[in-house]
């Protein structure tokens, strides 16, 4: 190519690039300026609850001006929370999302949640189980509508207890004694698994004992992760660990599911949603499991803890907070919608936070897998006795991570669980102060 045609070719290429760029830039604004008729409000909703389409369709049918699209995402801890935080930072979060109670203060601390009180959400207060409402609100501000809850009880292998003539424990002292008897009878069995990296589980146990890890004191946080109640629970489990009466595998892994199947773990202290975990992953043990109330610290008491449960929130970047609030309220309080979510086969087998939902036949029906026991009557009784004053802190992600690391060290024998709690208290206070929260100890 000689110089002249070379330069002509170059000029042509440059011109083409520039024209393409200008055209592309020019097309976009023109679309936005086009006149649109009175448009349907489109909302997006991120949730990992299965089969939500039935409730969402019900809402769309009964609210012609609003169209909600449900995006099924993975569980919050498996990546959706990270996506939500990133989307909030980029200001393009969905209109609505599912957030568990323990992370509500963390989301509030990003300023990413819409206060739904101005849109009439406060009127729903008395429809929900009291502790769920108190964890969804801050003073007069309503940051979430409760959806479900996770009261805890004890799933146990009735056949193993009968085989080794061990009475089903009703107190923690009896539980420890049963652990010793079981282990002596068969060294391959353990009364349960102690997963050091599942902080939500352990905090449910602390909740039962009445530990108040975080408190709001005016304009400051009072942090007491190692208060006397928490220390007592840690001491109890340290004894179990030291005597090697429990396994220490991570939970919800293939190996842990195998233990459920083979009886490697004779009990599982878990929430109401754990019923399906066992059904799904230990099908061979149908008929062998039963549900009993959580062991108590004092004989005759009835206090329970909670593990999990989630809410529906409206994110700050939404352009239609009023309509989004209407959907959140409908999804979790409309009887038709809640009944669809409760359905164990076609819904999500949800355990509702709506008080009226707890009486629904689908909730209290007998469950064949558990030998025909109406397992949810145990959970209904527990739900009514969950401490309403329990408060989550604004940095639960850091608390969970540090608790996992510290408890793993305890399980390896480097420190005791009580020392782990003390370390956790120090690191949490330090982290909160560094992040600018006002902390009292």
């Amino acid at each position: 190519m000689n110089n002249r045609s070379q330069s002509r070719w170059t000029r042509g290429l440059l011109t083409a690039l520039v024209v393409a760029g200008v055209t592309a830039a020019g097309v976009a604004p023109r679309h936005a300026q086009a006149q649109q008729p009175r448009a349907v409000v489109n909302l997006s909703f991120w949730s990992w609850v299965p089969n939500l389409n039935t409730s969402v369709d019900l809402f769309n049918r009964t609210h012609p001006g609003i169209h909600v699209t449900w995006n099924k995402v993975v569980a919050g801890n498996l990546g959706t929370y990270a996506k939500m935080f990133a989307a909030l930072k980029a200001n393009n979060a969905p209109d609505l999302g599912q957030v568990e109670y323990q992370f509500l203060p963390t989301f509030e601390a990003t300023g990413g949640l819409v206060d739904m009180a101005p849109y009439g959400a406060s009127a729903y207060k008395n429809q929900f189980v009291p502790w769920t409402w108190s964890q969804s609100t801050l003073g007069n501000q309503v940051f979430a509508i409760p959806q479900d809850s996770g009261p805890m009880a004890m799933y146990y292998r009735a056949d193993l207890f009968a085989k080794y003539h061990i009475a089903v424990p009703t107190t923690w002292a009896q539980y420890a004694a049963a652990a010793v008897k079981l282990h002596q009878a068969d060294p391959n069995l353990a009364i349960t698994d102690f997963p050091p990296r599942d902080a939500g589980w352990f905090i449910g146990l602390l909740w039962q004992r009445g530990a108040r890890l975080f408190r709001v004191n005016g304009n400051a946080w009072k942090v007491a992760i190692n208060d006397s109640n928490a220390t007592a629970v840690a001491q109890y489990w340290q004894t179990m660990l030291s005597k090697k009466l429990v396994k220490t595998d991570p939970d919800f892994t293939q190996g842990w599911f195998k233990d459920l199947q083979t009886g490697g773990a004779a009990t599982w202290l878990s929430a109401v949603w754990g019923a399906n975990t066992i059904i799904d992953n230990a099908t061979g043990t149908a008929g062998k499991w039963r549900v009993a109330p959580m062991p108590q610290w004092t004989a005759g008491a009835s206090v329970y803890g909670n593990w999990g449960g989630s809410t529906t929130v409206v994110f700050k970047s939404t352009k239609h907070p009023k309509e989004a609030t209407a959907f959140a309220e409908f999804l979790n309080s409309n009887t038709g919608s809640v009944v669809k979510m409760i359905d164990p086969l076609k819904g999500a087998a949800l355990y509702p936070a709506l008080k009226a939902g707890l009486d629904q036949p689908a909730v209290v029906q007998p469950v064949t897998f558990y030998g025909g026991q109406r397992i949810n009557t145990v959970f209904n009784a527990a739900s009514a006795k969950v401490d309403v004053n329990f408060q989550w802190g604004p940095t639960m992600d850091q608390v969970f991570a540090d608790m996992s690391d510290d408890f793993s060290n305890a399980v390896n024998g480097k420190i005791t669980l009580v020392q782990a709690l003390n370390q956790l208290q120090q690191s949490t206070v330090a982290h909160m102060q560094k992040s600018g929260f006002t902390v009292q100890q």
């Binding site: 110089n3 601390a109 595998d249 190996g255 195998k258 600018g436 006002t438």
Partner: protein, 315 residues
């Protein structure tokens, strides 16, 4: 060295003709690399710049803090925090220990395999070349997941074999063994890749060198030690630098194994720590700081290693 042509002295004839070099023609090479340049700018330089800027910021709140925080300029404050962070030091120490053991072993094995492939005594070379390379072709996450089943005491055929052989059961995921279990996975995955690079370098050695060595009486191991190894040194240095860079950034294997083991803390290795800070703890600014520090450490190590081996690497 190629013989360079002597520059043409301006003769009388040349001086009479006007210079015909078009200035616009000089832009052509840059136009050709423009697509790559744009993508490099968009996906490499801009994110790196963004991360550096983020590492200089931090978020501040007050009181209960249940509202949006404000972003303030923190200068080198984040870097100061990282310097005083024991979890970070533990992670860096761990990754250095891991690197010091794993990289020499992996490259040693790769070099021996390359020598074997280059020798005349091995049959079915094509099969072995493919077999050793296949672990590299498997995506890292898939490979790590495969190995979780070989490590998990409930499912592992290796563990049950050891158990049946009468030895005390071996815990691959224990506190003291998890690091080397990860090293095992990484070695399995990358040895083939390094072997291919070294093998290619060995193939490039001209046959006359071997002839000359044979005439001087050098045979067998001597050929490997005195002829092949020095001539392959540049490729060895290359694979070493790549391995150092890769090792300092180890992430996939600890992340996958953290699902089945209690012994992978949230700050197990620097990259894991940065990931958890960004996506689990929402400390975007601190995570950016950790990433920048990791990049600087990687730069120092790889550049320093190249300097050290300048004699051999030809760089």
């Amino acid at each position: 060295m190629a013989v360079q042509a002597a520059p043409r002295a301006p003769t009388a004839a040349n001086r009479l003709q006007p210079r015909r070099r078009s200035r616009r023609g000089q832009a052509t090479p840059y136009l050709f690399i423009l697509p790559f340049g744009l993508l490099f700018l968009l996906f490499f330089l801009l994110p790196i710049g963004y991360a550096v800027v983020q590492s200089l910021l931090s978020s501040k709140r007050s009181g209960l803090g249940l509202g949006a925080p404000t972003t303030v300029f923190n200068g080198l404050g984040n870097f100061g925090d990282a310097m005083h962070d024991p979890a970070f030091y533990a992670g860096v120490g761990r990754v250095l220990l891991y690197g010091v053991v794993q990289v020499p072993i992996m490259l040693g094995v790769a070099f021996i395999l390359a020598l074997l492939m280059d020798s005349t005594v091995i049959r079915f070379k094509n099969f072995f070349r493919l077999a050793f390379f296949i672990p590299y072709a498997i995506p890292g996450v898939v490979g790590a997941l495969l190995w979780t089943f070989l490590y998990d005491p409930q499912f592992s055929p290796i563990v049950s074999l050891i158990h049946h052989a009468g030895l005390t059961s071996f815990d691959f995921l224990g506190e003291n063994t998890i690091l080397w279990s990860i090293a095992n996975i990484v070695t399995w995955e990358w040895t083939g890749y390094n072997m291919i690079i070294l093998f290619a370098a060995l193939q490039a050695i001209p046959g006359e060198v071997y002839e000359a060595a044979r005439m001087d009486g050098c045979t067998g191991i001597g050929v490997a030690r005195y002829i092949k190894a020095p001539l392959v040194a540049p490729a060895l240095v290359l694979t070493c630098v790549l391995s150092i860079i890769g090792t300092l950034q180890t992430f996939t294997e600890p992340q996958v194994l953290s699902g089945i083991s209690n012994n992978i803390s949230t700050s197990f290795m620097p990259n894991v720590y940065a990931y958890n800070q960004a996506f689990n703890a929402n400390n975007y600014y601190y995570a950016a700081t950790l990433a920048v520090i990791l990049a600087l450490v990687t730069f120092v190590f790889s550049f320093g290693f190249l300097r050290l081996t300048q004699r051999y690497s030809g760089v």
